[in-house]
Symmetry: C2
Subunit: 175 residues, 2 copies
C-alpha cells in the first residue's frame, strides 16, 4: 500500500510517500517540504500548496492519504495556518478520489516509537531506521510526514482488518 | 463590479453575490447557503463545499471575492471548521483567478451599519434595505455574506482609488 503522509503547515508543509505493509519496514518513495512565501496573499499561498500537492499525488500515485489532525491547544495563530493548510491537503486528496485518515501527533509518535510522548529527535531516528535511510530526513516536518505515512500503513491496516472482521461477523449473523 | 461574499462555515457557509458600485445601493444577484453534512468525513465535506463554490463562481461570474477573516477569539473548535471552510473559499477564488479581499466582522458591520458593534439583526436590516429586498435574507450567514460583498464594493473601491492615486503620484515623481 502506498501512502502519502502530510504534516500540514502554511510556511512549510511536510510531505512523504511510503510504500509499506503492516509489520514490514516499508520503503521510501518520496520525501520533501512544500514551502509558501509568507509575503504572498493567503489565497495565493493556498493555491501554491494545492498545486504542489496535486502534482505530487499525480506523480507518486499514493492509494491513501494520512494527514495530521490539527490540535487546538497550540498557539492559536499558528493553528489557523495549520488548519488552512490541512484543509487544502484534505481537499487535494478528496479531489483525487483518495481515502483520507487523520491521526493526532501522539498516535503517530506511539505508532513509530512506542511512546506517545516521544520527542521529534526520537521520531526522526525511528523513521530513519524503519525506512533504512542513509541520512536523516530534514527538516522535522518531512520526517513527521514520513512518520504519518508509516503510522497509516500499520494502523490503517489494523482498522481495515477490524472492519472486515466486523463485516464478516455481521454477514454471519444473517445466515 | 460584481462581488461574491463568503461567510465561511463548515456546516453552513453563507454566499452572496452583489452587483454594485461605491456609494450606490447595489443589486442582489444571488444569495444562499452551502450546507455540508456533519456526518460526512471532513475531506468529503470540504470537497462538497469546493464543488459548490466553484460552480457558484462559474454560474454567477463574480469579478472579486470577499471572505470573512476568521478570528481566533471565538470557541477554538468552531474556529478550526471556519478556518478550513475559509481556506476552501480562498482556494476556489484563487483557482478561478479572482482577487480576494478579507474583512473582519467589525469592518463589515461598520461598512453597512456605521457601527462595528452592530448586532446581527441590524446588519440583516441594513442589507435588506441597501439591496431593496422585499424580505430579509435568511439565515444570518446568508445576510452576512451579502454584507461582506457590499462592504467590498464600497471599501475595495476606496482602496483601489488610493492605490491608483499612489501609483499616479509615484509615476508623476519620475517625470
Amino acid at each position: 500500500m502506498r501512502v502519502l503522509g502530510v504534516d500540514p503547515g502554511l510556511t512549510r508543509c511536510g510531505v512523504g510517500v511510503v510504500e509499506g505493509r503492516p509489520g514490514r519496514p516499508g520503503d521510501l518513495v518520496f520525501v520533501g517540504v512544500v514551502q509558501t512565501d509568507p509575503g504572498l496573499e493567503l489565497s495565493q499561498r493556498l493555491l501554491h500548496l494545492d498545486r504542489e500537492l496535486t502534482r505530487l499525488i499525480a506523480d507518486h500515485r499514493p492509494e491513501q492519504v494520512a494527514v495530521e489532525r490539527v490540535f487546538s491547544q497550540h498557539n492559536v495563530r499558528t493553528v489557523m495556518g495549520t488548519a488552512q493548510a490541512g484543509a487544502v491537503a484534505l481537499l487535494a486528496a478528496a479531489r483525487a478520489g483518495l481515502p483520507v485518515a487523520m491521526y493526532t501527533p501522539s498516535e503517530v509518535k506511539a505508532a513509530v516509537t512506542g511512546s506517545g510522548q516521544a520527542g521529534k529527535e526520537q521520531v526522526t531516528a525511528m523513521v530513519t531506521r524503519l525506512l533504512r535511510l542513509t541520512e536523516r530526513p530534514k527538516p522535522a516536518d518531512a520526517a513527521d510526514a514520513l512518520a504519518l505515512a508509516i503510522c497509516h500503513t500499520w494502523r490503517g491496516a489494523v482498522k481495515n482488518k477490524l472492519a472486515e472482521a466486523a463485516a464478516a461477523a455481521k454477514k454471519g449473523s444473517y445466515r
